[in-house]
């Protein structure tokens, strides 16, 4: 049909219960944010799977690429002094 629209794409993130982090659930098509939120509720939370929802235009998300995974995350991997095991404590002392 001429002029027909499928609406823009939104990514949906749901919080399964209070205190838990949001996680990606999937996507929906919607004309605006309010409609995206309602669609996300109907599609991804029919059985109480969430207590909160975020919707974000898919075009607003920037992500790292799998091919870059090695070099991109490298700066973190060569800093063992960020981990507690790097530091020595006298034996027999309970640190935590």
């Amino acid at each position: 049909m001429p002029g027909d629209t499928a609406h823009r794409l939104w990514e949906v993130f749901t919080q399964p219960e209070g205190g838990k982090p949001f996680e990606h659930a999937g996507s929906v098509h919607a004309a605006d944010a309010e409609m995206a939120l309602q669609h996300a509720r109907d599609v991804y939370t029919r059985r109480g799977e969430a207590v909160n929802i975020w919707v974000v235009p898919s075009s607003a998300i920037t992500a790292s690429t799998p091919g870059d995974a090695g070099p991109f995350f490298e700066p973190g991997n060569d800093k063992p002094y960020r981990h507690p095991q790097f530091y020595k404590v006298p034996s027999g002392v309970r640190v935590f």
Binding site: G3, L9, S27, D32, V43, R46, S58, A63, T65, D68
Partner: protein, 334 residues
């Protein structure tokens, strides 16, 4: 390079030879990842054939969920009790949701949902042939939940381990919901089978009509299934059509016995050695006829989908106009 989460790649190339010239080093790396049981994510390198097989398989699956609403929707207004009506409404709503989960997963492969829907409406896309059979009586709603959703669970439980992450995740979500579908169907059948002689006959008649099409849902024999080898090699599927069909029959025979219904197959017998229920030959002429568009309801189903899509066009247009007006007002106020 950063990338957009959903990056349209344009229409899928039709060239059957595409993928023949994949970089052998990358292909070997990809197959090694599959062999190690790793999950492939949307932006990982994948052979073009893998991407196209997934688009084909996932979009057919999504279309099946959507068209699957039609035979059942036929009985919502005539459900015998409020309890049955609520259950059926919820089930049909789930099927719409399942379609959306899988379309969403398919879009991660760089296709646009609207293109896929247009292919369905144009009659060039396939969907499960089972939905081209009519629902003649209320017992058919029982038979569909029990057998059709039962067969879907067998298939989808395997697909929940598929090598492509978005497909596997959609299947995990769907499998959790299908159990409700199957149980509501089986409860309908069990109730009718324990009812008056007329109700019993209705249940048996529904089983007689839906049994063989349910077995056809698993697709052609392995030797006649052109896509199976590739899908198994790349672990999109972990079991063959015939293995899944056998598993479904083994599970279902006892369920039919428990409610005193007879599976319409004189060749059905238990093999002590293999522990399998062996069954008669499927009418493959009927299968191919329905797949190719000549089933009892193919035309009716597509006409109903087209009408629903066209009737909804003004709603989509109104939603866009509303969004545009609010956006421009917000812009003016800022």
């Amino acid at each position: 390079m950063p990338y957009q989460v959903h990056e349209p790649k344009g229409p899928t190339p039709r060239d059957e030879r595409a993928g023949a010239s994949e970089d052998p080093r990358r292909l070997a790396e990809f197959e090694a990842r599959i062999a190690r049981g790793e999950t492939i994510e949307p932006k990982d390198w994948m052979p073009e054939r893998y991407r196209r097989q997934l688009i084909r398989m996932m979009s057919q699956h999504a279309h099946s969920e959507v068209v699957g609403m039609l035979p059942e929707g036929n009985w919502i207004t005539r459900a015998p009790t409020l309890r049955r009506k609520m259950g059926l409404l919820a089930k049909v709503q789930d099927e719409a949701g399942h379609g959306l989960y899988i379309y969403c997963g398919t879009e991660t492969l760089g296709v646009d949902r609207n293109d896929l829907i247009q292919q369905l409406l144009a009659g060039t896309a396939k969907y499960s042939s089972i939905f081209n059979y009519p629902t003649l009586t209320w017992a058919d709603i029982g038979a569909i939940g029990w057998l059709v959703d039962g067969a879907a669970i067998v298939n989808q439980t395997m697909l929940a381990k598929a090598s492509y992450g978005p497909y596997a995740r959609a299947m995990v979500r769907i499998c959790k919901e299908e159990n409700f579908h199957k149980r509501q169907g089986y409860e309908i059948m069990a109730t009718l089978a324990a009812g008056t002689p007329e109700q019993r006959a209705m249940a048996q008649d529904a089983l007689n009509r839906w049994w063989w099409p349910s077995l056809m849902m698993f697709g052609p024999h392995d030797k006649d299934s052109p896509n199976s080898d590739e899908l198994l090699r790349w672990k999109v599927k972990q079991k063959t059509n015939d293995e899944l069909r056998q598993r479904f029959v083994n599970l279902t025979v006892a369920q039919a016995k428990a409610i005193n219904l007879t599976i319409p197959d004189p060749d059905l017998r238990y093999n002590e050695a293999t522990k399998n229920w062996e069954f008669g030959e499927i009418d493959w002429d009927e299968f191919w006829r329905v797949v190719k568009g000549d089933g009892p309801c193919n035309r009716e189903r597509l006409a109903a989908r087209r009408k629903a899509h066209d009737d909804g066009a003004w709603v989509r247009a109104a939603a866009e106009a509303y969004a545009a007006r609010h956006a421009s007002r917000a812009g003016a106020a800022a």
